[in-house]
């Protein structure tokens, strides 16, 4: 039988042992890297197989770690990862990538900018009017000379107020339309483009007859619903040429515009006629892409940037997909194709800890060699004045524009933003508002909620008229 002192000694020894284990565990989990940064950089172990661009960093410079942040979906597309991989191999600097869920990133980056706890570089939609430009560092790398300044001001890469660039538009210009399964179209005996609304409805009916869901919506994502409405922008502009200006200057509310209500009702009719999936709120874009490729659906609305997803995940089937245009109106002359500016831009916050290195990183990304390498992964047409690989979808849609079948047009949201240059109007969460309509909210209340949101934001930003 153990004495009291032996038991006490054993307890003491056990306590010391457990404390030592805890200390060792804490040390093992602690940071040990340079600059206190333990986050693994992207692609740091992989040697680049691309011919390296001319080295820009002197060999005796201390390696710097810059923080980069963006949406999860943008990261997953791979093009910016490629640029980072090349940059790290070239300069020896490290990029600490902090990726956030798509539906949270906008809130997170706005919070970081407001609190001053900013990354060195972040990638988001390139329009500077989404931010307070006093929180951003102006950019003046050699790439700015290749971009048309008026176009840059129109799409917000440069500020209308001071003409300075605040974002580097590395992403492809976005073309929105209908991505379709060629085999199913052939089976149903239909072909695009759908020059009138009735043609599109007839096509949906034909697809339904062959036993597939004509159209799949991926409304679990924050951005997809708005694409349907974007594709009707030319029809809207034809019906009500003053629509964008009146909404931009608060001379009318969306629920007071018959043309907008009419277009919304035409879009919602697809749901009412059972041409779409019931589980739209739980369907992600990845699920929609899979359904399209597997022939469970014939169409999804999207943009040319999705070509990269299909090329990456379904390389052997990407040629069985095409892109075409839809007219929501009754006059074939109203068929339009929405062509926006760059979908992706790089910004440097004014509070960035490694500002100089961040700007060097952006200049590197926007160089010819790196842009070409990025566009091998996500093909498209860019605004940076560099000839890059474009997809067959870009060719298909551009062909419709060049032949005069469809008109190139701004989407409704860009039209509202650009109606009064420099106004800084914030259109709020248009996609969220449209998603709520798809989920059953009345057109009136859905449009009024959208108005309440964007008028509140515009009032705070002191947009004239609000």
């Amino acid at each position: 039988m153990k004495t009291k002192s032996a038991r006490t000694k054993m307890k003491g020894a056990l306590t010391v042992f457990l404390c030592s284990v805890l200390v060792l565990l804490a040390a093992a989990c602690g940071n040990g890297g340079d600059n206190g940064k333990a986050s693994p950089s992207v692609g740091s172990a992989a040697a680049s197989s691309e011919p390296a661009a001319e080295s820009s960093a002197p060999m005796d410079k201390e390696p710097v770690t810059i923080t980069f942040t963006t949406f999860n979906a943008w990261w997953a597309s791979g093009n910016i990862q490629k640029a980072i991989e090349l940059y790290q191999a070239e300069t020896g600097n490290k990029v600490d990538a902090q990726i956030f869920p798509d539906d949270q990133f906008v809130n997170i980056i706005n919070t970081k900018l407001a609190s001053g706890d900013t990354p060195d570089v972040f990638a988001i939609w390139p329009n500077v009017t989404n931010f307070n430009k006093d929180q951003l560092e102006p950019l003046d790398g050699p790439w700015t000379e290749k971009i048309d300044l008026e176009r840059a001001k129109k799409f917000g890469y440069a500020s209308i107020e001071d003409g300075k660039y605040y974002s580097a538009p590395y992403g492809a210009n976005s073309i929105q339309g209908l991505i379709y399964n060629k085999d199913l179209f052939q089976q149903a005996g239909i072909s695009g483009p759908f020059k009138t609304y009735q043609e599109f409805l007839d096509a949906c009916e034909a697809l339904k007859k062959i036993g597939v869901t004509p159209l799949v919506l991926s409304n679990k994502e924050g951005w997809t619903t708005q694409i349907l409405f974007y594709t009707g922008s030319n029809y809207l502009a034809a019906q009500d040429p003053n629509l964008a200006m009146e909404l931009a200057t608060n001379k009318a509310k969306p629920s007071e515009k018959p043309a907008l209500i009419d277009m919304v009702n035409r879009v919602l009719a697809l749901r009412d006629k059972d041409y779409t999936n019931d589980d739209h709120l739980s369907t992600t874009i990845a699920m929609a892409e899979q359904a399209l490729v597997e022939g469970k659906t014939a169409m999804i609305f999207g943009g040319d940037w999705l070509y990269a997803d299909f090329d990456k995940n379904y390389k052997d089937k990407v040629d069985s997909l095409g892109m075409t245009a839809v007219n929501w109106g009754d006059d074939a002359a109203d068929l339009g194709i929405t062509k926006g500016g760059s979908g992706n831009g790089l910004f440097v916050p004014k509070n960035a800890k490694n500002k100089e290195t961040a700007i060097e990183f952006i200049d590197y990304v926007m160089s010819d060699a790196v842009m070409k390498a990025m566009y091998e992964i996500v093909p498209g047409v860019n605004d940076a004045g560099i000839e890059t690989k474009a997809s067959s979808w870009d060719a298909e849609m551009q062909g419709l524009i060049d032949s005069g079948t469809a008109k190139a047009t701004d989407n409704i949201i860009d039209a509202i933003r650009n109606a009064v240059p420099g106004s800084g109007i914030d259109v709020g969460d248009f996609s969220g508002a449209m998603r709520s309509l798809w989920s059953g909210k009345s057109v009136d209340s859905g449009l009024n909620e959208w108005y309440a949101e964007y008028s509140k934001l515009s009032k705070v930003k002191k947009v004239p008229g609000f």
Binding site: D103, Q104, V106, N107, I108, N110, T111, L113, A114, F131, N132, D134, Q135, K220, D279, L281, S282, G424, R435, S436, S439, K441, S445, N448, E449, A452, E453, K456, L457, K459, V460, K461, K462
Partner: protein, 294 residues
């Protein structure tokens, strides 16, 4: 002349750092937030702060989501308080009995409380998946496929799905407090009740519940305040969706703060604080009257 008191000196000296910390990081920001609620401060004009009177509060009342967030917050609070406390008492009563592996059962119920909501939310998100989630798959496997729902994307079920997760994650503390309360009840009362021929429910109603009233007060107040302050559960699972069906006060404030509306979100926070304080005081006053002193 005041007599020098070493004990008073040391008390004040040792309190000073903590008090300073509390003033600088809690009191001052709270007062500042109060004032900012009456300004138009935003990230779009970060260096310009102007008083705008009651404009923020008028905007708040005009915002359709504001009413929805109030209703959702109170719904979440009442349902989670009810479920947590009723289930908590029942489980505590069972755990208070002499059971084999009693310590293990107590640990199992307490473990969820130690997990971060960011760990729990993905687990429940996976459980609730409409196609691959174990809940729906199990229902289909036993022929109850008609009960399988889109738990997080159907507006009818989304809030209740969040409540279930909230109850699961917080019931451990509730059980702990009820167990502590039950163990302070003198055994003599139960023995006397046994002699008088009382059954389980009579003992519960006339002995256990009245004498654990302080524990009930503490649990209800804590879970009520916690319910009103809900944010992480909603943000992690649905982020206020689908279509604002689960939008609560906390997510509304965060959404507006994230949109750069600093003054406006402070105003919403101010209203929220006043509502929480008002209901908490009413609740405490009501519960105190029901307590019995031993």
């Amino acid at each position: 002349m005041k007599k020098y008191s070493p004990s008073r000196f040391y008390t004040r000296s040792f309190l000073l750092p903590a008090l300073t910390f509390y003033l600088v990081f809690f009191i001052f920001p709270s007062l500042l937030s109060l004032i900012l609620g009456f300004t138009d401060w935003s990230t779009y004009r970060i260096t310009e702060i102007h008083f705008n009177g009651l404009d923020n509060f008028k905007m708040m009342l005009d915002e359709p989501i504001f009413a929805t967030s109030i209703v959702n917050t109170f719904y979440f609070t009442f349902v989670s308080v009810l479920l947590t406390n009723v289930l908590g008492i029942l489980i505590a009563l069972v755990l208070n009995m002499k059971l084999r592996l009693q310590s293990l059962y107590r640990s199992v119920f307490f473990i969820p409380t130690t997990l971060s909501i960011l760990v729990i939310a993905p687990i429940f998100s996976a459980l609730y998946h409409p196609q691959f989630g174990p809940i729906n798959q199990a229902l289909r496997a036993i022929g109850l496929g008609f009960l399988a729902q889109e738990w997080l994307v159907d507006a009818r079920y989304a809030m209740n799905s969040i409540v279930v997760m909230a109850v699961w994650s917080s019931i451990g503390v509730t059980i702990l407090l009820y167990l502590a309360g039950l163990q302070t009840v003198p055994k003599d009362y139960y023995e006397a009740a046994d002699i008088d021929g009382c059954g389980f429910w009579q003992k519960l109603r006339h002995i256990s519940l009245p004498l654990i009233m302080p524990s009930i007060t503490v649990n209800i107040v804590l879970s009520f305040v916690g319910g009103l302050k809900v944010f992480g559960h909603v943000y992690a699972l649905t982020n206020g969706g689908p279509n604002d069906a689960t939008q609560v006060f906390g997510t509304l404030i965060f959404k507006n703060f994230g949109a750069g509306l600093l003054g406006y979100s402070s105003a919403v926070g101010l209203v929220f604080t006043m509502i929480v304080c008002l209901f908490t005081f009413i609740l405490i006053a009501t519960m105190r009257r029901l307590e019995i002193e031993l």
